[in-house]
Amino acid sequence: MNALLLIVVPLAGAALAAVWPGERSRPWLLPAAGAVHTLVAFWLLVRPPAAAPDAWLAYDPLARAVLPAVSLLFLVCAAYGVSYLRVRTERPSRVFVASLLAVLGLLSAGHLARHLGVLWIATEGVTLAAVPLIHFNGTARAFEATWKYLLVGGTGIALSLFGSFCLGYASLHGGGAGDLTFTALMQQGSELSRPWVLSAWVLLLVGYGTKMGLAPMHTWKPDAYGEAPGIVGALLAGGVTTVAFTALLRVRAVVAAAGAGAIADRSLLAIGLFSMIVAALFLLGTRDFKRMLAYSSVEHMGILTLGAALGAAGVWAALFHVWGNSLTKGALFLGAGNLHRAAGGRTMDDVRGMAALAPRSAALFVAGMFAVTACPPFGPFFSELRVVRAAFDTHHGLAAAVFLGCLLFAFFGLTRLVFAIVDGRPRAAAQATARRFPETPSIVLPPLALLAFSLWLGLATPAVLRDTWTAAVAQLYPAP
């Protein structure tokens, strides 16, 4: 089976959705394409295809280590999307469905990209395809969020192009023939011109860091996640950030091959911890539970970046955490979408007593909150434990202390807000809204499935995933 199906199937689905006549049947394209994508992604995870080393797009170990998580998240979100779009019949679904599928196809291309230019084109494509998703609600606030997303994200993507050019020039200056695949760049190693490699690293870290939502480039995130539908938030937080993270991992490997790995690790450590601190502080202050999820996402991006700075064991833990983050955050976003609709509000000032109004979604939201704050036995607990262990093994005791402190503050911030909206007596006006949006199995089961996956990941991590993560680490840290 060809790995390119991962790109072609969703894009073909997007084209089909754009011309599909039936408004009611169109959303079913989402789970259809998602199911094929998941099937291919997991089939090829178990039976890895042989890839030519100079291929521009290949399902290499790093892609296998993270893309199936995104695929699984998309499939569940797609199943949720069918019932979501049935509730939102007042908005035409053509652009929404087509954009979602295009995002999936371009995300796959970004994960599979082994060429600096192709990687950038895919990321740019994802950025643009996500624009209609963010202003799906069509309100003035959604437009404001979209504008900020485009301006900040567009600047980030421009800087990452600049960084890619710098890395290309580093290769050219070192006698390269213009081959910009990551394999060729790593082979060039110390021949790459050092000043250009360092310039490229700074620009690419800022550029792809903006897409990931690392502080201080995270400013678009709360607005976009807050205003977009829950299903879009889940995909942005679990999928788009992941492609930017793998991009940073690939670039870091080139920078390390050029002999500047220590500088790269130090900058990753600093920006990762800074993101965690900023996120923890904002989590203590925010009163809006959808924006809370955005800050929680900033925090988890900080965890990933910190892991990436801590050597091979840290990267292994980070790849594990990608799975935990994508699945758990997906469950939280879908649950938050349910609560938002049922309550008709998003802040702790006008939402309370959700345990009485929407008991199943509220229970899911609380369980998801415990999962995302790394309570055992969910996946994030085990991956974050490994990050801490990697920090101690590499003598980063202070970083581990800051890391644990931030996790504690984030826990305070999240529990404060979540219990404020779950407990208490519901407002009278909210009861009528909740009756209009009953908790059907089709909106409760998808987030439940994601939580179950997160639990399964923590309790019994499959051997094939562990092996793939090890292979991905070996790809990023080649034996000298």
């Binding site: 643009l128 202003h135 979209t146 485009l150 421009a158 192009l161 600049f162 310039s199």
Partner: protein, 213 residues
């Protein structure tokens, strides 16, 4: 060939300062369009013999940056019937000083970066850095959506200038894809401008302040 290319890069750097000093939106858009045309001519000076690929890049740049995008911006401006004043949040004199200082810093910084022998003496690197800086000043220091889009365009022009160093080495796909993507990016920005105006009846991004902590 190098001296005439440097002349054009110098012209583009001058247009940066002109953009920083423009107080009227049509003038700003015109400056950005002129810079786009100047940039589009450059590939012909780099490649001595005619090549289809390079000609395609050049024609795409001239049409896209020089005509299509400015026309879209003018349309958005007319459709919104907004006032023509730029309304800076960083004044014109400080902006110009920042731009001039940035240009000097760009020249100094470019000296620290090693260049290939065939690029020695070229102004492309300082020109690129100066344009990126100018773009940032406009992005941060102007409050109207259209002037921010112009800032973004100048930022993008700077990156394009740098890309010219690689035009011989990188394969066709990347070159064409990059051009297309950036143009589409700004095109979408233009559409958004259109929509913002319907929702807010204003293109002042200072009014976009509902969402904050």
């Amino acid at each position: 060939m190098n001296s005439s290319l440097n002349l054009l890069v110098g012209l583009a750097m001058g247009l940066n300062l002109l953009a920083l000093g423009s107080s009227r939106l049509p003038a700003l858009i015109g400056t950005v369009a002129a810079q786009g045309v100047v940039l589009g001519v450059m590939p012909f000076l780099i490649e001595t013999h005619f090549e289809w690929l390079v000609a395609l890049v050049a024609a795409g740049t001239i049409i896209g940056k020089g005509f299509v995008i400015p026309a879209l911006l003018r349309r958005a401006m007319r459709a919104a019937s907004i006032e023509r004043e730029v309304e800076p949040s960083i004044g014109f004199v400080p902006s110009l000083l920042l731009g001039a200082g940035g240009t000097i810093a760009a020249v100094a910084l470019a000296r620290a970066l090693p260049l290939l022998p065939e690029h020695a003496g070229s102004l492309l690197v300082p020109g690129a850095l100066a344009s990126v800086l100018t773009g940032f000043v406009l992005l941060i220091g102007r409050s109207k959506a259209i002037s921010q889009v112009c800032g973004y365009l100048i930022l993008e022009n700077g990156i394009y200038l740098f890309g010219l160093l690689l035009i011989r080495a990188t394969p066709l796909l990347v070159e064409a894809g990059i051009l297309l993507d950036l143009t589409v990016g700004v095109f979408v920005l233009g559409i958004i401008v259109d929509r913002i105006q319907r929702a807010f009846d204003s293109l002042d991004t200072r009014k976009l302040t509902v969402l904050r902590e």
